[in-house]
Symmetry: C2
């Protein structure tokens, strides 16, 4: 089984425009003899796959896709399994490991694995609206097709209460509309209605759409399978149409880069309340 | 002020090896006349900057760096501000907007902004250990230099209780050792001691180190400024030295891709307890 030894590349191509796909991902696709992927992603790399065997599958056929990729590589081929974004983030990489485990694969067996990271939707979408992910954030998928809704709801509640910037993947689909409404309701209990919210669809692709809204109003926009929703923390602000979550430099420094009274560079932040300067906010 | 109009590229170069830097990031660096960045990041792109003006600054001089980049671009130059990873994730992008706001900049003024996403540490580190980010995750910086520790501790607690995969940025430094110990203690109250933990240092760089451990033992390893710590959820498993968080396909499907009894493809997951098949786990 280990000779000839196949290779399985698990590749994230990023948002799908060539400019944001890494040289490592492109090299893997060029090197492969067999390309496996969801039809839409195959289309994004069609200029690279002339003369290669292509195994396309539909969107709900993830298990079949992972099995096909693993089995062809196991038999000795160089195979690339293509995901959009990062293959490790809600992508195919995890499923590949589950298939390998089911087959009793061991390190050293065929296929050899090559995991190539890509730009995930949080980063590509974030760059289109400013710097929404400048401080602690989380990613939550609203799809309850594989995860019980109470688990998802508990994560939304926790993230909202602890003031994370929240990125929602798979917020809705033609059939699934209830979850984003419920998410808005939960988050609104912890955050101001004016909290900035960005909706990004098809980032860096032909039909790209970007909307900036707020927590009270964002449900008025169309939200579908290709939308990523970014919800600000209590510190996130909108400036000239950009959404920005600051890291916190102005908690400690003046704009000349000098530490403020009572603060020491390289040492823990002293909360304004503890300084006793009388400048504490009411 | 708008003529001549400068350009400010804010660029994430990913983990820093050329193979994982996007064509868009490389093009921005090539196009720029002035390169601004932390010395270490400038070194990573030194092969691209022959003949260009370089403004290097030390690690704690973020405000000065952002100001220098904005001011040179505002005066008409093409400037690139270089971050590692993604410039929007705990990076320089947020600070650029704060500087612009302080200067009274408006859209249409000089400089024009170009935000180029990069592969963030979560993705690059994740790809080196398997697929740890296959389901809901969060990023928390343990640095309390700019954020009060109680805010950070509350986020750790919330993420641990709601079963997120947790990525810890800036876990420790020479002077700052207490936070990672405290984080371990908080998370351990909610998760099994055998929960997989990965420590990744200098991903895709010359001194790369990867360790797989668990929640009870990971503090025995050296953890510093260049380490990213990935802590699994209750579903994360280790398989052949890889750390994997499954998406949940096996909750619903057999390995032939058929839906299990009581489950319907494309519909909400029915929890095993609700099926009444007698197969509910005790």
């Amino acid at each position: 089984m280990t000779d000839p030894r196949g290779i399985l590349y698990v590749v994230g191509i990023g948002p799908g425009a060539g400019d944001h796909t890494t040289p490592a991902a492109l090299a893997a696709i060029r090197d492969a003899e067999v390309i496996v992927g969801y039809t839409t992603y195959i289309k994004l790399v069609r200029h690279l796959i002339d003369g290669k065997e292509v195994i396309r599958t539909g969107m709900t056929e993830e298990i079949g896709r992972a099995r096909a990729a693993v089995e062809r590589a196991r038999a000795g081929s160089k195979v690339v399994l293509v995901s959009s974004g990062d293959a490790g983030v809600y992508g195919m990489a995890g499923l590949v490991f589950e298939v390998l485990r089911d087959l009793g694969w061991r390190r050293g067996d065929s296929p050899a694995l090559r995991l190539i990271p890509g730009i995930t939707a949080l980063s590509s979408c974030g760059s289109l609206v400013g710097a929404p992910l400048g401080h602690d954030f989380c990613a939550i998928s609203l799809s309850d097709l594989l995860t019980p809704w109470p688990v998802i709801a508990r994560r939304i509640e926790a993230a909202a209460a602890a003031d994370f910037v929240i990125g929602l993947y798979n917020p809705a689909s033609g059939r699934r509309q209830r979850q984003i409404v419920e998410a808005q309701r939960i988050i609104r209990q912890h955050r101001d209605g004016a909290t900035p919210v960005a909706l990004i669809k098809s980032a860096y692709r032909k039909l790209q759409q970007v909307e900036l809204s707020d927590l009270d109003s964002f449900l008025e926009f169309e939200i579908g399978m290709l939308t990523t929703v970014l919800i600000g923390s209590s510190n996130t602000f909108v400036f000239e149409g950009y959404m920005v979550t600051p890291r916190g430099y102005t908690n400690k420094y003046t704009w000349d880069g000098e530490a403020m009274a009572g603060q020491v560079p390289g040492r823990s932040l002293v909360s304004p309340g503890a300084l006793g300067t009388g400048e504490r906010k009411a």
